[in-house]
């Protein structure tokens, strides 16, 4: 089983987005960390990087595979969670608290294309089958 949190937005690539004003915290979902297995390395973007929707925000590497993290929204990287460099396992232990980057949103309308909690849960269940 995997956890989905109400109030967050979700992408089809299994990123979560938490919006605070014109900034968005982003991380990977519980479903994503469970599929990846134990995460051993997180590569973060540089602060100030300007990203288009779908650009690579960073990389999570597990014992199984290395996977790109895509930003579901465009904007500028305002902050990064450097704690993950030393403790990548935080993403496994608390995926919804282990944000990877904060994006200053370029276009708030993009948030409308993301899924809500219920829709995302259904999406993951379909992926399972």
């Amino acid at each position: 089983m995997f956890k989905v949190i109400e109030g967050l937005k979700y992408s089809k690539e299994h990123e979560w987005v938490k919006v605070e004003g014109d900034r968005a915290y982003m991380g990977i979902t519980d479903y994503a960390q469970k599929s990846l297995g134990e995460i051993v390395y997180v590569e973060l973007p540089e602060k100030g990087t300007v990203l288009a929707e779908g650009d690579t925000l960073g990389v999570v590497e597990s014992v199984k595979a290395a996977s790109d993290i895509y930003t579901p929204v465009s904007g500028t990287v305002a902050d990064i969670n450097e704690e993950l460099l030393d403790s990548p396992g935080n993403v496994n232990n608390s995926p919804y608290e282990s944000w990877i980057a904060v994006i200053e949103l370029g276009n708030v309308n993009e948030l409308d294309t993301l899924m809500g909690a219920g829709e995302y849960e259904k999406f993951c269940e379909e992926e399972e089958d």
Binding site: E38, I39, V40, E61, V63, K64, A65, A66, P88, G89
Partner: protein, 490 residues
Amino acid sequence: MHQDISLIFEKSIPGREAFSLPECDVPLKDINELYPAELLREKPANLPEVSEVDVIRHFTALSKRNHGVDSGFYPLGSCTMKYNPKINEDAAALPGFEKIHPYQDPKSIQGALELMYNMDGMLSEITGMDRVVLQPAAGAHGELAGLMIIKAYHEHRQDFKRKKIVIPDTAHGTNPASAAVAGFDVLEVKSAADGGVDLESLKNAMSDEVAGLMLTNPNTLGLFDRNIGLIADIVHQAGGLLYYDGANANAILGISRPGDMGFDVVHLNLHKTFSTPHGGGGPGSGPVGVKKQLIDFLPGPLVEKGKDGFYLNHERPLSIGRMKSFYGNFGIVVRAYAYILTMGAKGLREVSETAVLNANYIMAKLKDYYNLPYDTACMHEVVFSGQRQKELGVSTLDIAKRLLDFGYHPPTIYFPLIVKECMMIEPTETESKETLDEFIAAMVQIAGEAENDPGLVRGAPYSTAVARLDEAKAARNPVLSYVPLCGCDI
């Protein structure tokens, strides 16, 4: 059995040495006179002090813990771990190949140059290409060379827009990595339900910004993409080129050729398909072949045949330059050359026929025990999913670890990424039916254990020198150098 896992440093006994030199008969010079101070150590390196027999026993013990094709079955998918015939070693050890120096006058190494020239011709014939260069040192190195050739081709046409390479989601991880190193952006296309390239997605991905498509055929699901003719048309019509990742070439020798399928650039892995050592440092060899319009861009030098014999052609202004010092891993090329001559054209075709038969035999025998995500005849490798066992609490990693107890190197796992709990098994043609049957029996037994005693599989391996390693800890906190217990410097 006594399991000595101490390091060579820990075997050191002060004053023990494995050499004795006669008294020096020339005047000794102080080392400080010979080298500037900044190049000299302040104190001697802390090297282990051991006798010759200590060294030999230490490394022999380590080698016995290793697993290679000479010690057992090695069905690592997409790696073609076939047996390496020992006659290849005899050929490579011939003094005319082994004792020559790359700076020798080409006139004095005509035999070696002739071999390279002939190898170019044979690999061109096998792949359906017009010219092959032997320089790249491995598969990914060949990919990089191929992509640089594609880039040079477009730029020579004054077309600087093509910054993207299209790659299917089943591709080997080296493909997007090589594209990125070559300075391209990667555009991923999803696979269709049958495991092949989704033609609509490919059409949508193509534009005048796409430099080319990288494709493995058969792909990493072990499936031959029957749409390859259409795929090539779509890419060519949009002005792109097709790159053939030859990692799975063991499935097609003498049966189909990338050149005939429409590919413009191809690399081969001599250490996979052509029976040269793989793993343990190889070294590898990744020749790259191209169609006529790309020959000028090949890395150099190329071996040419002139009226006075064979020579190295360095005068190629459009060449992307050198990919490696000298002429590539020449000794490996000699081994692969010996292999091709040993097998002959008919033999190479039989290689692929038997490799495909062996994979399908394993598929047929195991499909009742493990999920088969693509239930169709496969090529040289078969992909299962451990999803059924996962639901019983046994992961594919557990199954792989349990296989160690049966003396097998496990298959490739968790790849390709689009198959959950993936196991990718490539038996190769060099394994007998008896070996395959024993492996199948082990896999059937493990499937039974997953049902009846999942804890047993989760706890594996039991027969190895060390128990299950903590892979996450090893990656998170790697200890890469020896720190003496005494705390002194090394």
